[in-house]
Symmetry: C2
Amino acid sequence: MTLLENYTITELTPSTSASYSKTLTREDIVLFARCSGDVNPVHLDAEYAATTPFGEPIGHGMWTGALVSAAIATRLPGPGSVYRSQSLTFKAPVKLGDTVTVTLTVSEVKERVKLVTLECEARNQDGKLVAKGIAEVIAPAEKQSLKAGILPEVVINELS
Amino acid sequence: MTLLENYTITELTPSTSASYSKTLTREDIVLFARCSGDVNPVHLDAEYAATTPFGEPIGHGMWTGALVSAAIATRLPGPGSVYRSQSLTFKAPVKLGDTVTVTLTVSEVKERVKLVTLECEARNQDGKLVAKGIAEVIAPAEKQSLKAGILPEVVINELS
């Protein structure tokens, strides 16, 4: 059982930081395409992707955005946060097998309105910046230690 | 077979517009959680969600972001676009069964560098604004009509 713990607004100061990593798999691409409807073949079809400047299947840009949001929701500030805004600039493609590490760093805390600004960076396993941006989050007032939601099993039946 | 057609940079003018709709299902929430790792129980656990201000499970904010990116990748400008940046402000939660319509409207075209700015709005079935923002995209130079990527079957085995 995974416990998600949060930072309350009073625990956050400029330079509080947290990281979150995930390796992009074929499953991630399929599931992201399925839940969003983004069926661009540059993500799904290796033969087509080989004809593009990328040369191979790449992850959806917004998959990296999803990792940023996962880092906010589960790590910093964590459960009880309310996501207000996000900006992202996409700097480089993420390829199958790349491990993306999102690092969030608090840059501003407005305690009266509980608004926290986070600098967000996503880098691949070589340290190359793949995306960066700014998030604004309403931080929780109360400490929470919460059981992570349990995911049902997901099975992908690849076409033969 | 779905064909994805694009707008080339010379076909885009301010006010060119396109829409894309999707209804949020339990499957979408599970798959988004799985591919991102965002296992906050406010999305996954109805019992826990009932204790929050939302009162029921809500979609991940960035799922709406994923719909915006799907609209860009498959509709406007469509295949061959390169996603440069996205800003999003989250205005209201999306609940299970809500139908979100993303509308993209070209606000600026810099033909020399092929850079297109899109105003992005996401509204629910009642017309309520759930998210808005700005995207910057490098539009394709060449016309493409492309077979959508084919998704394998995905089966979710809910825990009993």
